[in-house]
């Protein structure tokens, strides 16, 4: 009974809390710009509205057009199940679960790109091409970050990896992971989630032809991914394991909120980068994470 209840709470955290984050980001942006902005719960309303709508399908699209987003959502759900929630730990934890998480994230990306290509539209093709090209660097940074945590803690299980702080390399890791968070979640300066210009979109261009429940699933999956990365960032940098359960929960919530507000501030104050410059910034993220790895490897031993 307890396990069932726990699982329900866990899913509630991930599934119900996730759409709050984009709402907070938009509120921060509106606040900086001096506007009132959309309600914090706007994404919930949008999801409810999309869920009630019917689907418009291209006659060219194969079933992958709908299966892609579904598989991507399930893969993301699988990934978040593996991420420990502070004192509560992960629902599922085993040796090497960090690898599974990375692969599930990659699977989600593959399925979104696959669904995008199904439409045969030039826009979606361009969006998918951009998404996967930047993923090459973003994933490298992510792998380097996870590797540094593995070296730091001598473990390949997320629960033990994320418990202590990242040590001396924490600042490097925080900067690197925050950049990856922005890139992976298609935020400024990599992508502009608010743009209406198809030619400049990355993530948005991939989902232009999706509508109704599949679109709702994609949007919800994207918000879960944002929550996953903010949780990872907070836990990787802060020593969650050393705190009392109550304090750890507070720190976790505070960390996620800080990361979200940070995204909002970045979007408010920074223009978006030209596509040619994006690899430069992502390479910087890779280097930051590699240096964190170096610090964990050499600094930790000293």
């Amino acid at each position: 009974m307890n396990t069932v209840l726990e699982l329900i709470f866990r899913l509630a955290w991930w599934l119900i809390l996730a759409p709050l984050l984009p709402g907070i980001i938009n509120k921060v942006k509106a606040w900086v710009a001096g506007r009132r902005g959309p309600p914090v719960l706007q994404l919930y309303y949008d999801l409810a509205r999309l869920w009630r709508k019917s689907v418009v399908m291209s006659t060219l699209a194969s079933p992958g057009f709908v299966i892609g987003p579904a598989v991507a959502w399930v893969a993301l759900l699988g990934a978040v199940i593996l991420v420990p929630l502070g004192p509560a730990g992960a629902a599922l934890s085993f040796r090497g679960d960090v690898l599974l998480m990375l692969y599930l994230l990659a699977l989600a990306r593959f399925c979104t790109a696959w669904a995008a290509m199904e439409t045969g539209s030039a826009f979606e093709g361009m969006g998918a091409a951009r998404e996967v090209s930047y993923a090459v660097l973003a994933e490298a940074a992510m792998v380097a970050a996870m590797l540094s945590l593995c070296v730091q803690t001598g473990s390949v299980s997320l629960a033990t990896m994320l418990a202590p702080s990242a040590g001396a390399g924490a600042v490097l890791l925080a900067a690197g992971l925050f950049t990856v968070l922005l890139a992976e979640n298609c935020r400024v300066p990599f992508d502009d989630p608010n743009t209406h210009l198809e030619l400049t979109m990355i993530h948005e261009a991939m989902i232009l032809d999706h509508s109704g429940p599949p679109l709702a699933v994609i949007l919800h999956g994207a918000s879960m991914k944002l929550l996953l990365f903010s949780v990872l960032l907070t836990e990787a940098v802060l020593p969650m394991g050393d705190l009392s359960p109550f304090a750890a929960t507070g720190v976790l919530l505070g960390g996620v909120l800080t990361a979200t507000v940070g995204v909002g501030l970045v979007e408010s104050l920074l223009a978006r980068f030209a596509f040619q410059r994006v690899p430069l910034l992502l390479t910087t993220a890779v280097l930051l994470c590699l240096f964190a790895l170096l610090v964990a490897w050499k600094g930790g031993a000293a």
Partner: protein, 493 residues
């Protein structure tokens, strides 16, 4: 140099009896036009006038350095003539337009296809230039766009993210403005002129009113000319500010984007303060104007203008201070000065390529003969230059306005114009916020319009956008497009 031209000279906002316009056989006419263009003249208008089953070609050229316009016509003919375009690319759209409207074929034209319509079909049903190769992909954008903008079709030939060629197909909004003017002016004419391009209402209405006054051989009272100059600069301020905000929005730079959207409204409200309409409809009419700006309202206008200008200064400063914005604007969408001169760019797009082209300065008419704002030029030809010219013009226009508002001329605002002279050609150029708005009218034996030609600056400048995209990244198209911000309906007429 224009002293030796065989063309008939006339000043901006003046008229010439049709009989005094020199007339040659078409071959000689085209050769003479080519000679003048080769000597640095600029093609303002090139159109056909039907006559007894055949068509005459009429050319209006501008000698900017000599502050004069020149015109000539061909004898009526049918069939073909030797195309100007291979030697003078600025003629290419004009020749296509004449071919579409009158069936005169420019022989040797490299890309002869309709400008606005294909016999009953959608504008995109022509051939598009295609680049071959297994790595080339074609991207078609529009005519329905994601934003709330006008319809136009853009066909990109891309290698990956790089644009090799862009072809623009417009004409979705062809309303038949010129056709509607035949036999005019009608009761609806003034309203139609105000909506040739809705964001350049003052410029087009002023050009039309000036034509009517030139045909009548009169001038609007000084006070009306003063008010038109003020409204024209207010229109420039509103649109430039809106464009800077839109550019900031396209690179996701929120501070300037949010502020400029609001300030644009403030400037529009200033026009509304004068005449009750934010776009200046009803402000300009042949013979003068109906809405006077008495001292009390002028003082209010000045106060509100100062506030709005200070706000703009601040919002634009954020834009220039952000390194992330500058890196997005610099070296993006470059049009080289030689290209700009070749394709006949006008207005701020030309000035952003280092060309000194400003009708207020080159061909002053109306109030601009007495008061001038200095011409803003920036040499680099990229998005940065076009944004920079806008922000500098906001400063200059602001200073000009404050100057002029302080010293209004006295007198009447309206003087009933006499009837238009028969068989007369009148030309009027106005520097709208995009660039040169050109109206040419030819009257018949009873003083009604026999032919009325409108050239919106967008007609010259769309080609500039296509060139700016060559070698650029396709993701930079939106900011390049926004940096020109050309009119679709002004082109489509």
């Amino acid at each position: 140099m224009s002293a030796s031209t065989p063309f008939a000279l006339l000043a901006n906002a003046s008229s010439l009896p049709w009989a005094e316009v020199p007339e040659w056989p078409v071959d000689e006419f085209v050769r003479a036009a080519a000679n003048e263009l080769a000597r640095g003249a600029r093609l303002c208008a090139w159109f056909g006038v039907p006559e007894a089953g055949a068509t005459r070609l009429v050319a209006v050229l501008a000698f900017d350095a000599d502050n004069t316009l020149a015109t000539a016509r061909s004898r009526p003919f049918t069939g073909g003539y030797h195309s100007l375009t291979p030697a003078h690319p600025q003629a290419h759209l004009f020749e296509r337009e004449v071919w579409e409207q009158h069936g005169l074929t420019p022989e040797g034209h490299p890309w002869l296809k309709p400008v606005r319509r294909t016999a009953g079909d959608a504008p995109t049903n022509g051939d598009f230039f295609r680049v071959d190769g297994c790595e080339i992909h074609e991207v078609a954008v529009g005519p329905v766009h994601a934003g709330i903008i006008e319809p136009g079709h853009f066909r990109f030939q891309c290698a990956g993210e790089e644009v090799l060629h862009l072809e623009i197909a417009l004409g979705y909004q062809h309303r038949g403005v010129e056709e509607a003017l035949a036999g005019g002016p009608h009761r609806a004419t003034l309203s139609q002129m105000e909506t040739v391009a809705g964001d350049a209402t003052i410029a087009h209405a002023t050009a039309h009113a000036t034509i009517m006054e030139a045909l009548a051989g009169t001038e609007a009272p000084l006070r009306a000319q003063w008010l038109r100059a003020i409204a024209l600069e207010l229109e420039r301020l509103a649109n430039h500010t809106g464009d800077l905000g839109a550019l900031a929005n396209d690179v996701a730079f929120l501070p300037t984007s949010s502020a400029c959207g609001k300030i644009r409204g403030d400037f529009l409200n200033l026009t509304a303060l004068i005449c009750g309409n934010r776009f200046g409809r009803g402000l300009v009419r042949p013979g003068g104007g109906r809405h006077d700006l008495e001292a009390e309202r002028a003082a209010r206008l000045t106060r509100q203008l100062q506030v709005a200008l200070a706000d703009t200064e601040q919002a634009v400063a954020w834009l220039w201070d952000a390194a992330s914005v500058r890196s997005r604007f610099e070296d993006v969408g470059t049009v080289f000065p030689s290209q700009a001169a070749e394709i006949g760019l006008v207005g701020l797009a030309a000035r952003a390529c280092g060309l000194v082209r400003d009708v207020r300065y080159d061909h002053p008419a109306g109030w601009h003969r007495f008061a001038q704002a200095s011409v803003v030029v920036w040499p680099s030809g990229d998005v940065f230059a076009r944004a920079r010219v806008r922000s500098l013009e906001i400063q200059r226009s602001g200073a000009f306005l404050l100057d002029q508002l302080a010293s209004p001329p006295d007198g009447e605002l309206y003087q009933e114009p006499t009837a238009p002279a028969p068989d007369t050609l009148a030309v009027s150029l106005v520097e709208g916020w995009r660039g040169e708005v050109c109206h040419v009218a030819l009257t018949d034996a009873v003083g009604r319009f026999r032919r009325y030609k409108i050239v919106d600056p967008s007609f010259h400048n769309w080609t500039g956008l296509a060139l700016a995209l060559r070698g650029a990244a396709i993701s930079d198209f939106p900011i390049c497009n926004k940096s020109f911000n050309l009119s679709y309906c002004g082109f489509d007429l």
